[in-house]
């Protein structure tokens, strides 16, 4: 400490000595303004870059991953409902149901491989159990084809595996990925600190101008004027762009929550369909499935109402209408089954309202995702060139301040 104190005291003496003379003060001012200009410019650049990265993450990673996770969930739920329907049909399974099941498994697998890259822990259960599930379904199918009732037992086991392990894991994955979207949207928040620093820098330049006017009796210093102009322009640019981006991100939040509600509605639709089918498969001992159907239908009704408030589009209106008709047909199915008219009940389950509802929801989800994508693209477009612009303005500001003060400093030589 004792040894160190010598040079430090010398430095302090030199700086305070400089500050005592006018040329010394001017020299210090040059250094301070140049450093402040570069620092403020870099801070703004960093914040704009952060927004750009957040938007890029949203557009190219978070949203596609959230969609992949939703696709895993949907495809699994649909595969389970379809396998049950194929069983219910009796005889050789209808070709279109088999194809639908195979498409579901392929889609689940493809979406799973997309999601695995980002969340290997959350997809571990899904990756491990999906082949077990398909194996059970194939065993069920083989036995069914030979007319053995043990086929139905394998199908029940497969469905149990789906409900207790695969679907909860898929639900967790979907939640985690939608949270990631929300976090990326939070990252694109308003850059308050950099904007305040830039404003403080503008004020500092104005103060420097007034100081110069006082000591030199000249009204304006061109160099400082240019620097002030550049700093002001940079401040306005960053503020305007950030407000625009905030606006777009807020719109994208609306779009992504709309897509989320619709995706949940679609999953609820498929769940309800599965329960409806299993009630008939159980032939009179399916009270638990019917109870689930009523529960899921109630949730689906709420989700559709919520979607209608968020997005009063034609697709959502049509979905709501198809839901209403499906519920009416379901009443008739239950009446027929409860009255012992089983064949009539099985015949009614092939009604078009479920498929129409599903198609409407696919359309509405597609529209909401397009809205989201548009908003993010607009936000990214408004950020274009900002980084370079702000950096150039920072250099202009630093150069202007240095040159303006250098002229005054020369007068003291």
């Amino acid at each position: 400490m004792v040894i160190d104190s010598q040079p430090r005291q010398a430095l302090v003496r030199r700086v305070t000595g400089l500050a005592r003379s006018t040329p010394g003060r001017l020299g210090l001012l040059v250094v301070v303004l140049v450093v402040a200009s570069v620092a403020s410019g870099l801070l703004s650049t960093w914040s704009v870059n952060r927004q750009e990265l957040a938007l890029q993450e949203l557009a190219t990673r978070s949203e596609p991953l959230a969609h992949a996770a939703q696709e895993v969930y949907r495809a699994l739920q649909d595969a389970d409902a379809t396998a049950a329907s194929a069983f219910l049909a009796g005889g050789l399974e209808p070709r279109e149901l088999r194809e639908r099941y195979e498409a579901d498994i392929a889609q689940a697998q493809a979406a799973l491989s997309v999601a695995t890259a980002s969340s290997p822990d959350l997809t571990a259960t899904l990756s491990a159990q999906l082949p077990v599930y398909t194996g059970l379904v194939e065993t069920a199918r083989t036995n069914n084809r030979q007319g053995f009732p043990v086929g139905a037992a394998y199908l029940r086991e497969a469905s149990g595996l789906m409900r207790t392990q695969l679907l909860p894991a898929a639900r967790e994955l979907y939640r985690s990925e939608t949270d990631r979207v929300a976090r990326a949207q939070d990252d694109a928040e308003f850059p308050l600190v950099p904007v305040l620093v830039a404003a403080a820098f503008v004020l500092a330049l104005v103060a420097a101008q007034r100081y110069l006017t006082r000591i030199t009796n000249r009204l304006l210093n061109v160099g400082l004027l240019v620097a002030t102009g550049a700093a002001l322009l940079s401040l306005l640019w960053v503020t305007t762009v950030s407000v625009l981006v905030m606006n777009d991100v807020s719109d994208s939040r609306t779009a992504s929550s709309k897509a989320d509600v619709l995706a949940q509605a679609r999953i609820a639709t498929l769940t309800a369909r599965g329960e409806e089918t299993l009630t008939l498969v159980a032939r009179g001992s399916g009270q638990a499935y019917e109870k689930n159907f009523v529960e899921v239908s109630g949730r689906l009704r709420e989700l559709l109402e919520q979607a209608g408030r968020l997005d009063p589009s034609q697709a959502v209106a049509s979905a709501t209408e198809n839901f209403r008709q499906w519920q009416q047909v379901h009443q008739r199915i239950r009446e027929a089954d409860d009255a012992g008219r089983y064949a009539e009940a099985v015949g009614l389950i092939g009604n078009p309202h479920f498929d129409s509802l599903d198609r409407d929801l696919v359309r509405a989800i597609g529209e909401a995702r397009q809205d989201f994508s548009d908003e993010v693209a607009v936000a990214r477009a408004s950020l274009a060139g900002t980084v370079v612009g702000v950096l150039v303005l920072a250099v202009i500001g630093a150069a202007g301040a240095a040159m303006g003060l250098w002229q005054r400093l020369k007068e003291y030589r």
Binding site: A89, G90, P149, G160, A339
Partner: protein, 319 residues
């Protein structure tokens, strides 16, 4: 020389220094799934602690002459069923040969199902006027008590314990409990189960009969769930009535029924407690099936693979 030694030491040290452990892929195996509702049982559930003295379970009520189809006595249970337009029968759709779903037609068929159809035929003159409600073993008594079904025809053993809750028709089939195993298991009968695991349906008499004889007992909702567990190697044996086992063995040629019958399981039609008129009516239907050869025809159709038809059980009545 010294330098060379030093170099060797450095090289050795290099060879010994630990790099990161090679990565492992987890999981290496996945726990095999089990049928929904499978659980391990340690004691027979609610077995008869004190059977009522003098209980003669298989003695039923003597039938009178059968009324003509479609003309049931006024105020009788049968008349109420007639007015509804269909008989509601609790059956199984998972016991191959006794009550099972024909996967080609989607219809429920089997020995028990034909008995239910004969009752419908006697009531309506039309054996198709019957609604089948699938019930698990454990649901049979609750369904009868709640009135959700008119009759239960589902491999239901008559015993004194159950007679406290429901009534039974006379015996329509004499089954007995045996053991189903994989052909290469080395198990030859119920005696070999002491150090093995066995599967049985919950709420069945079979479960109570075997739980003390096996090392571990697993209960499942349906008999086919037991076959799933046997095929997946999760249990060593299945023990229940030979009728049900024959149906399971028919679905898997790698299994066989072993050992002698170690219980007697007289099957009766379950009827809600106190409906004596319906008990007498069903007994009349069963008498007629024995007399006109329908019983033998039904046996040959479904259970012929067990061997030639035995004599149908003789009616025993307590009045």
């Amino acid at each position: 020389m010294r330098r060379r030694l030093a170099l060797a030491a450095v090289l050795l040290a290099g060879a010994c220094s630990a790099g990161p452990a090679p990565s492992e892929v987890v999981p290496r195996s996945v726990a095999a799934p089990q049928p929904a509702g499978a659980s391990t049982v340690t004691a027979a559930p609610g077995s008869a602690a004190n059977p009522e003295p003098g209980c003669d379970a298989t003695a039923s009520l003597r039938p009178g002459p059968l009324p003509p189809a479609g003309q049931m006595p006024a105020g009788s249970t049968m008349e109420k069923i007639l007015q509804r337009g269909r008989l509601i029968a609790g059956v199984d759709q998972n016991s191959y040969l006794m009550g099972f779903r024909n996967s080609f037609t989607g219809e429920i068929e089997g020995f028990d199902v034909d008995v239910a159809r004969q009752i419908a035929k006697a009531l309506f003159g039309d054996e198709s006027k019957v609604q089948f409600r699938v019930v698990t073993s454990a649901e049979r008594i609750p369904m009868l008590r709640s009135g959700a079904v008119d009759v239960v025809v589902r491999t239901m053993t008559i015993n004194c314990d159950r007679l406290r809750d429901v009534d039974f028709s006379q015996v329509y089939y004499e089954a007995g409990q045996r053991v189903l195993v994989r052909r290469d298991s080395g198990i030859t009968g119920v005696e070999d189960l002491a150090d093995r695991s066995v599967c049985s349906a919950s709420g069945s008499t079979s479960l109570g009969n075997v739980v003390d004889r096996a090392k571990t007992t697993v209960s499942v909702p349906n008999w086919t769930d037991c076959l799933v567990m046997l095929q997946q190697g999760q249990v060593d044996a299945i023990s229940t009535d030979d009728t049900i086992l024959a149906g399971l063995a028919a679905q898997d040629p790698y299994t066989e029924v072993v050992g002698a019958r170690f219980t007697e399981e007289p099957y009766g039609v379950g009827i809600p407690k106190g409906q004596e008129d319906l008990v007498r009516f069903v007994n009349g239907v069963l008498e007629r099936m024995r007399a006109d050869g329908t019983w033998r025809g039904t046996y040959d159709r479904w259970l012929g693979r067990l061997g030639p038809a035995p004599a149908p059980p003789a009616g025993r009545y307590r009045d």
